[in-house]
Subunit: 361 residues, 2 copies
């Protein structure tokens, strides 16, 4: 227990939502669970009001109105990456904590500036990588960090699924249209394996990365991407992502003394074919496989949980700690920046025809 | 049934063994099961005779004596790769069918010459890649080839285990001493993931390969190696191998309409930690996992089998067919040459500091 029960009115963290994007439907129950939802902002007041009425989540308003409200502690910002940073900068200047949907937008330098501004203003930054917050993830993290498994040697991570139809694949979705998501499926799906790799390596940065395989769609957007990462000490990682292959959401971590495998990295649906688990709140992520040095596997049980609820709880606790006089937790902005740096380098490699790109620390 | 019951004396295939290497202990029961073992040859007659007495496998003799025997159809040649090709060339010139242990020795051009000589003389060539011959492998092969799973998009394959001790790692074993195995653990363990990748892709050759990560031991021999392969149509494969990580023996094949995963590529021990299964005959390889396009897994059952028995049966059947007037099966020498070409290219990449190496068809 951290001392913040969340039941006292003074402990309430109040959140505003910038956008009526589809993902809000998934995140909203978590926001309601751990915070007080003040309302939703949109470019279109009526749209925001309709959304709030339909989802019972406070007051609909325009973006600028939301930014000016004194009764909003944190803004959840799932705007498209191309539009997001300008709003984030405004929110920081108005003293709001930031809960930014992933992937990050803009350059790594731009993101570094935003997270630095947050730190300077004593504001918490957190991105919407839900799987970091699961009980399973935290259990594995502990094992990786306490040395029981020895050094991490290699990580393999993937997030792929098959586009539902040709129109979707050829630009009909935000992920497959570079005007909406410049890194395409590398940005959208790639965020997961790349974040899993960096997390497994304890946030050590790779020395260089290479996009070894890339497939573009008819509107010149990445729809499939594979690559390799070089970590200090001849240690390696590989990833693949995109919407041109069957559904796989997985990582394998090879350590000196054993292995850890998860077959539902992103969500809690395991390998059941329940793809709809991505669209709705779920309770899961209750298993992983640990192998020993001789290759003997053991299925490990973790407490099932709702990733979104736990993410919102972690963020609310950070904000409560700051309200009580503490400082922002630097881990969360650090993670966002690290993944975005590596992902941007992979994107640069893809643009350079697969040339290796060094990561400058 | 192929019409060769193996019970008639005229159907007997007679095999001689060149070397008293440790692997003979594993292969011998299979040779006895499917052929008539004439004897074992060594540089040292006494050593050969002692071996034959101990293992009840015919007559001990010198290499040249074995090559001259008229009652030997096929020679099983598990000599170290540095010594093997000279003996193979002699055996071919004496009209013997060839059962060569893997990995192949010498250059790809040298191997192409040997397999061509076999073909010209109407002799069968087969290497000792046991897993090709399992009932499970043949079932999966059928699924991959008949189009049910669509095109193969990406393959990931690994064979690693941890060296038992520091002396073993630093050159104390044939795999870790380049004077005995020039490609070190890339040759020894790498054969498995690379053969699995080429097999999964239906023996299409990659356009280029890259050794992305390599670790050398104190005697300048590869003990760990990872890489990526480029196949036509933006299709990809990754592999890792070596003796510096926990035991993993696995492949994942991503096809357009589903996935196939095997967690005991090399042997039949599954992920039980029974590493000793590599040293003795085993019956296993009875499971694999097939996933559909939505990520739903199904555990598939195959008939358990002894890989070595089935390899020897396949080879004996080839030889019987040739004795009956047929021609050698070109698939087996083709496989040996393909894997050796790709492995040699990965080795070249390692020697060139990880530069991509193109494969010339």
């Amino acid at each position: 227990m951290n001392g913040y029960s969340g039941t006292m009115s003074s402990d309430k963290v109040r959140v505003g939502i910038l956008s009526t994007a589809a993902i809000v439907g998934k995140v909203l129950p978590g926001l309601k669970h751990g915070m007080e939802v003040v309302g939703v902002a949109s470019r279109d007041r009526q749209k925001a009001q309709d959304f709030c009425k339909e989802h019972d989540c406070g007051v609909g308003m325009l973006y600028d109105e939301m930014l000016e409200r004194d009764d909003v502690d944190v803004l959840y910002i799932p705007l498209p990456t191309g539009l997001r940073n300008e709003r984030i900068a405004q929110a920081i200047s108005r003293g709001k904590h930031i809960y930014s949907e992933k992937p990050m937008g803009g350059t790594a330098a731009e993101l570094a500036e935003l997270t630095k501004l947050c730190e300077e203003k004593g504001l918490q930054w957190m991105d919407g990588t839900m799987w970091y917050h699961s009980i399973r993830t935290k259990e594995i993290e502990k094992k990786l960090r306490n040395g029981d498994l020895g050094q991490v040697l290699r990580v393999s991570a993937s997030f792929t699924f098959m586009a539902p139809d040709e129109a979707w694949l050829q630009g009909g979705n935000g992920r497959t249209d570079k005007s909406r998501e410049p890194m395409g499926c590398l940005g959208d799906q790639g965020w997961y394996p790349l974040s899993a790799i960096l997390w497994a390596f304890g946030w050590i940065m790779p020395e260089k990365v290479m996009c070894t395989h890339v497939t573009m769609n008819k509107v010149d957007t990445i729809v499939h991407c594979a690559g390799t990462l070089w970590f200090p000490g001849n240690r390696s990682a590989v990833f693949d992502c995109g919407c041109t292959a069957p559904h796989r959401s997985q990582y394998e971590i090879i350590c000196e003394k054993g292995t850890v495998r998860v077959d539902d990295l992103v969500g809690g649906q395991q390998r059941t074919g329940n793809f709809a688990a991505y669209e709705v709140p779920f309770v899961g992520s209750s298993e992983y496989v640990q192998g020993d040095v001789m290759g003997k596997d053991e299925v490990m049980r973790a407490e099932a949980c709702d990733h979104v609820n736990l993410l919102v709880d972690d963020l609310a606790n950070c904000i409560r700690a700051i309200k009580a006089g503490g400082k922002p937790d630097p881990d969360w902005p650090h993670r966002s920046l690290a993944v975005h740096k590596v992902m941007s380098a992979v994107f640069e490699s893809a643009q350079k025809g697969g040339a290796a790109v060094e990561i400058v620390s």
